[in-house]
Amino acid sequence: MSRALALEVIAAGKSFGAFRALDEVSLRVKPGSVHALLGENGAGKSTLVKGLIGYQSLDQGQVMVDGREVEIAHPRAAQKLGIGMVYQHFTVAPGLSVAENLLLATGKLPLHIRWGRVRAELSAFMDGAPFKLALDAPVSGLSAGEKQKLEILKQLYLQQRLLILDEPTSVLTVQEADEVLGLLRDMAHRGEISVLMITHKFGEVLAYADEVTVLRRGRLVAQAPVAEATHDKLARWIMGEPEAGESAEALLDDAATRRLPRAPGSREARLEVDRLSVLDDRGLPRVHEVSLAVHGGELVGLAGIAGNGQRELIEALSGQRSVLGGAIRVDGLPYAATRAQMRERRVFSLPEEPLYRGCVGKLSVAENIALRNFDQAPIRRLGGLVSYRAIRAQAQARIAAFKVRPPLPQRAMASLSGGNVQRAVLARELSEPVNVLIAANPVFGLDFRAVADIHARLLAARNAGAAVLVASDDLDELLQLADRLLVIRNGRIVYEVDAASADRAVIGGHMAAGH
């Protein structure tokens, strides 16, 4: 008999205030299959699975496990039923070791832990596991990919029969993603587990899933065997009928055609960096005497393998990290990234991981949008008072313009999905005329509609004459967007090329040389 679990959800529903996050959604995960759950950010995927694993209860609907109706009121209940969740945001304790994290996951610890015996057991498990990690390694030292593997190992160690994966590959390299998903699919097809996988990536759905369910705005829009699905069909399901004046294709085409050539003669350097050196978190030099210039109406891509100093460089340019040596100039004048200078010279930035580096998660969306201008009229009123009415009015206008969902200014920023956090940050940074824009991994982990949207906004800023610097770990993204490419390696700019004559292989070689 197969160990894999059969799951059925019937007419699940959930509301947050007036916002209907999930509406009459039903789905079936057949035992021993990989079921993909697809949808944009905010389509209700996370809400559904949070209900399934008892993290946040559903308002309506039934859940059936192996044909019996069950109640899942808290995570322990889901665990008892054999449902395990692999979260997108890691739920491992960084201060504890791999062994301690695995042991804690079991939830049935003896009062006195005999580490000798536990370690022997864990080593035996690790020997038979699809991927290996050192048991004594502190989790804080693991890479994102290794943490993701630990999350999956935890569930396998618990011998769970249904794994729910929340965007499992968003932090993995392509090779890691193929390895992880391939192994999980093989386990499913051997009848050891069933898998319910939330994802944005069509390639993964088509390659690894057996069936697919698509949600849009909290409603079920399609359910089909993957054999019957194609890339185009999936796209159409996710996007729905084209809204007035936009469709996926139009949006993408738009982004492509809006890449107007620069008008000759407008090449004054807006952002100049002169022999800039920056320290990293450990106090070691990470950026070594980097010089670069970005001109008006130009989008410069900063390519490099993660960890080569691009984060530190971008943070220094955005005023988030102090500078060891060298100079930054904006419009030819020295620039120290103070609030006054940012405002006066209209320098804006899109930090990576915007929720942590560009927002205050506990503040509302409206307050976050006002962070740039709460100390100016019309929000700042006579006597230094802040007008909440003006904050809300500004937020409402910008939320509508940038399509932030849910469109509720009073929601805490941290409660928004990744794409909508980025949209809200864009709404703050790009609503006024931009002179210089500095962005880092602006579409990391976002669905393709959000990607297209954000790329279009970056290009629009460039076309309006701004100097745009975009750092990204994704070379293809930069090749698509940039006018000129710089490659950073070991904290130095090692290669520069016009996008028109750029060769992917040559750039890749410069990124990786010496690795």
Partner: protein, 306 residues
């Protein structure tokens, strides 16, 4: 300086480290437990003073210092429980409530303890570990109160327990990553409440030491901030129980500097030397301050460090 003077000073410092350091040890172990769970209890100062007062009062009224000690521990447990429960309410800040508890505890202790300033209560017994040594200086330094070995045992036990017991691991998990603890179904609030209550009991015992061992009487100026300094001490000890033991001894030795110097005839600047632990606190805070990196071993959920 002659050899005898140096040895007198050294012996005085060692004896003082144990004598003055014991309350630091208990309070810091208590704070260590609380902070491992992800909360800070600044109210330990108030709990310490309440423990000192109630321990002294019960020892005097019952005639048994051990009953006094138990009462102090129970008092600490109750006050810790209060902190734990109230800080589990939504939007209550543990630091702010801790300061409130500190003021409440000291104020209440001064009010309730007025009548016990004069009478002499029975004291906890001392163990004469140095009775076979002829040198009277060593003998007095090694006349150790019963609470010190208990404290050493407790720090060893905690060191082991945090790693090798279910409650220890659950406590560290809750303090390290609340989301994970919730996802695994651990009752975060309950664990923290228990941790704060137990931490309070430790601080109560630390207070009883002050009034029942050394200096060994109840007065309003008894504590002089040991409860607050324990917070610094726990950071210095990197949230390790054995580190707490070492740090408590170091602070104790610093506190004994003034009396030890006096014993060799240097009495000028006595009060200045008595300020040594406070100077040490500041020095440690500056030395361990790294604005660009977080300390190793820091519980991830601590509001102090987040």
């Amino acid at each position: 300086m002659s050899e005898a003077v140096v040895s007198t000073l050294a012996i005085g410092m060692i004896g003082g480290a144990i004598r003055v350091g014991t309350p630091y040890l208990f309070v810091s172990l208590g704070e260590c437990i609380t902070e491992k769970g992800g909360r800070v209890n600044l109210g330990l100062e108030g709990i310490l003073v309440m423990g000192a007062m109630s321990g002294y009062a019960l020892s005097y009224l019952s005639g048994s210092p051990w009953i006094g000690l138990l009462c102090a521990a129970a008092m600490g447990l109750c006050m810790g429980l209060l902190h734990g429960l109230i800080c589990s309410l939504p939007r209550v800040n543990d630091i702010a409530f801790g300061i409130g508890l500190m003021l409440l505890g000291t104020g209440l202790a001064f009010f309730l303890g007025k009548g016990f300033i004069q009478p002499q209560a029975p004291q906890l017994p001392a163990l004469s570990l140095g009775s076979f040594i002829a040198d009277p200086r060593w003998r007095s330094a090694l006349s150790i109160n019963a609470l010190f070995p208990i404290g050493v045992l407790l720090s060893l036990l905690l060191h082991w327990g945090l790693r090798s017991t279910r409650p220890g691991l659950a406590l560290r998990l809750v303090g390290d990553h609340e989301g994970t603890a919730r996802a695994l179904g651990y009752p975060v609030a309950t664990v923290r409440i228990i941790a704060t209550a137990v931490g309070g009991a430790f601080a109560g015992v630390g207070g009883a030491y002050l009034s029942l061992c050394y200096p060994g009487s109840w007065s309003e100026g008894l504590s002089s901030g040991q409860g607050i300094m324990a917070v610094a001490l726990v950071i210095f000890a990197r949230w390790r129980p054995l580190g707490c033991l070492a740090a408590a001894m170091l602070f104790g030795a610093a506190g004994a500097l003034g009396p030890a110097l006096q014993s060799i005839g240097i009495s000028s600047g006595y009060h200045l030397f008595n300020a040594a632990p406070y100077a040490l606190t500041l020095a440690i805070m500056i030395a361990s301050c790294r604005p660009r990196q977080t300390l190793g071993g820091t519980p991830g959920e601590l509001s102090l460090t987040r």
